[in-house]
């Protein structure tokens, strides 16, 4: 048995967090928005945020990714050079650079995350062009490579995204984000609008890419099956607060908080 055994240190266990969130709060009204959220995320770790509509998941996500300044609290990111960057103390320019280099954002609706008026290849190449790649041949090669990685026929590189199916658009959006080799990717209900059969394919693809690229991911979903498949750990939100957090299978198989128990027991299990 030990012949093939190679006890390498597991790649996913970082010694220092990649992302640190302290007391993050933004309220639009009593218990509307999110409040008092703190956590750390390590390289390669996948954090799922679950809860019903209106629980504050989406607010939290936009606070985390720099789209909306918090009332209180901080978001810090350790960049490629190992320096900590305070997201909301940084300049708009630094935030934007981060969002198109070391970060990615996969929108629920691919129309929000893609440029529908330009070809699939241009969608994939845009981040590289923004980073200063000025070689058409390289952009083309990256486009073909990523289409293959997300299981889209490379022959469709010059087609407009609007000629793609919903599942293909979502995979194209993922390629568009991953082309810059990000370390941290935010996902907002990435399988939300898709048929179940298409969902499975996308989830499988995401699982593989997350492990292969050692991505840290924050994924917002109301689908507990998606959470179980993708997330290492979960935060359960209800009325703007995190009511429970921990290992994904522990939260789903042995929920402690009354609300989590209700949430888990409400799901139909096929």
């Amino acid at each position: 048995m030990s012949a093939a055994e190679q006890l390498l240190p597991a790649t996913s266990v970082g010694t220092e967090p990649l992302f640190a969130v302290r007391d993050l709060t933004r309220l639009y009204g009593p218990e509307k928005g999110c409040q008092g959220v703190s956590f750390e995320l390590y390289p390669g770790e996948v954090l799922g945020i679950v809860g019903e509509s209106g629980s504050g998941k989406s607010t939290l996500l936009s606070l985390l990714c720099g789209r909306c300044p918090p009332d209180r609290g901080s978001v810090q990111y350790r960049d490629g050079a190992g320096d900590w960057l305070d997201l909301y103390a940084a300049s708009e320019a630094e935030r934007r650079t981060l969002l198109r280099t070391e970060w990615g954002f996969v929108e629920q609706n691919p129309r929000d995350g893609l440029r529908m008026g330009v070809s699939a290849g241009a969608n994939i190449g845009e981040r590289l062009m923004a980073q200063g790649v000025r070689h058409y041949g390289q952009l083309r090669a990256a486009g073909l490579d990523w289409l293959q990685q997300v299981e889209i026929d490379p022959a469709r590189i010059d087609d407009l995204p609007r000629t793609f199916s919903g599942g293909m658009q979502q995979r194209l959006q993922i390629a568009r984000n991953l082309v810059s080799s990000p370390k941290l990717v935010f996902m907002d209900e990435p399988t939300g609008g898709l048929d179940v059969s298409v969902q499975a394919r996308l989830l499988d693809l995401l699982r593989g890419l997350v492990r292969e690229l050692d991505l840290a991911v924050v994924i917002v979903t109301h689908d507990l099956a998606v959470a179980r498949l993708l997330a290492d750990r979960l935060m359960v939100m209800r009325r703007s607060r995190v009511v429970e957090s921990g290992l994904t299978d522990q939260i789903l198989d042995d929920p402690q908080h009354p609300y989590t128990q209700l949430l888990v027991s409400s799901v139909l299990q096929p």
Binding site: A4, A200, Q261
Partner: protein
């Protein structure tokens, strides 16, 4: 003795908030240790909390109190209250769990399912594939099924795919939840061999086995869980 896992005063309670907050105490004051090369078999009737104990040890259930310490990466690590990523690291490197049920992931072929624990440890694909194929062959999964997702397999085939996955890499500590239940004699014998291999390689095993013959073949010690008040290692 080279102790690999040490459990002290472990308790597990389920509070069912959806059912008027009724509280069930399933484990209480449980203490034992298991050493390298040793197999501890949990003993007790159905409902005594054997599976609950395994799941609590694995971190799948949240303990209500006590301590679970495990030798991980050369150090003792307390699992009760550990960070999720620590638990995941322990599950990747140190603590294996083999049940009779396979959690099927859509679209992932059987071969990949089996290889996954090795790939997570950073094995090369070639090494992982060689061992996975050897295991699937040993457990009599026909080669034509290897590239198919196990969702459509029979219950027995799924169980054997899961066993191959469980024995894919060597675990310092292994939890076995009725791995041989409903297997035919030939396959059960293979599992026995795999368990013996693991013991010989220095794994500490904790298991539940309903079949008396198998239980007697693998057990070094028993943990009696029938009288919960007096629960202790015999």
């Amino acid at each position: 003795m080279n102790t690999l896992i040490e459990v002290r005063d472990l308790a597990k309670t389920f509070t069912l908030h959806q059912q008027h907050g009724v509280s069930l105490q399933v484990l209480r004051g449980l203490s034992f240790t298991v050493a390298a090369g040793e197999c501890l078999v949990l003993h007790g009737q159905s409902g005594a909390g054997k599976s609950t104990l395994l799941r609590t040890l694995y971190g799948n259930y949240l303990p209500a109190g006590g301590s679970i310490r495990i030798r991980h990466a050369g150090d003792w690590l307390e699992l009760v209250g550990a960070e999720p990523r620590q638990v995941l690291a322990v599950r990747r490197q140190t603590l294996g769990y083999v049940s009779q049920f396979l959690r099927v992931i859509p679209r992932v072929p059987a071969l990949e399912v089996v290889m996954e624990p090795a790939l997570a440890r950073g094995w090369s694909r070639a090494d992982a594939e060689a061992r996975a194929k050897a295991l699937l062959t040993r457990l009599n999964i026909p080669e034509r099924l290897w590239q198919l997702a196990p969702g459509t397999f029979s219950g027995g085939e799924q169980q054997r795919v899961n066993l191959a996955r469980g024995f894919m890499v060597s675990w310092p500590v292994m939890l076995l939840d009725e791995p041989t239940a409903s297997l035919d004699e030939a396959n059960a014998r293979v599992v026995l061999e795999l368990i013996d291999d693991a013991k010989a390689a220095g794994s500490a095993l904790i298991g539940i086995f309903h079949d008396r013959a198998i239980r007697e073949a693998v057990a070094d010690r028993y943990l009696d869980m029938t009288q919960e008040d007096l629960a202790h290692a015999s």
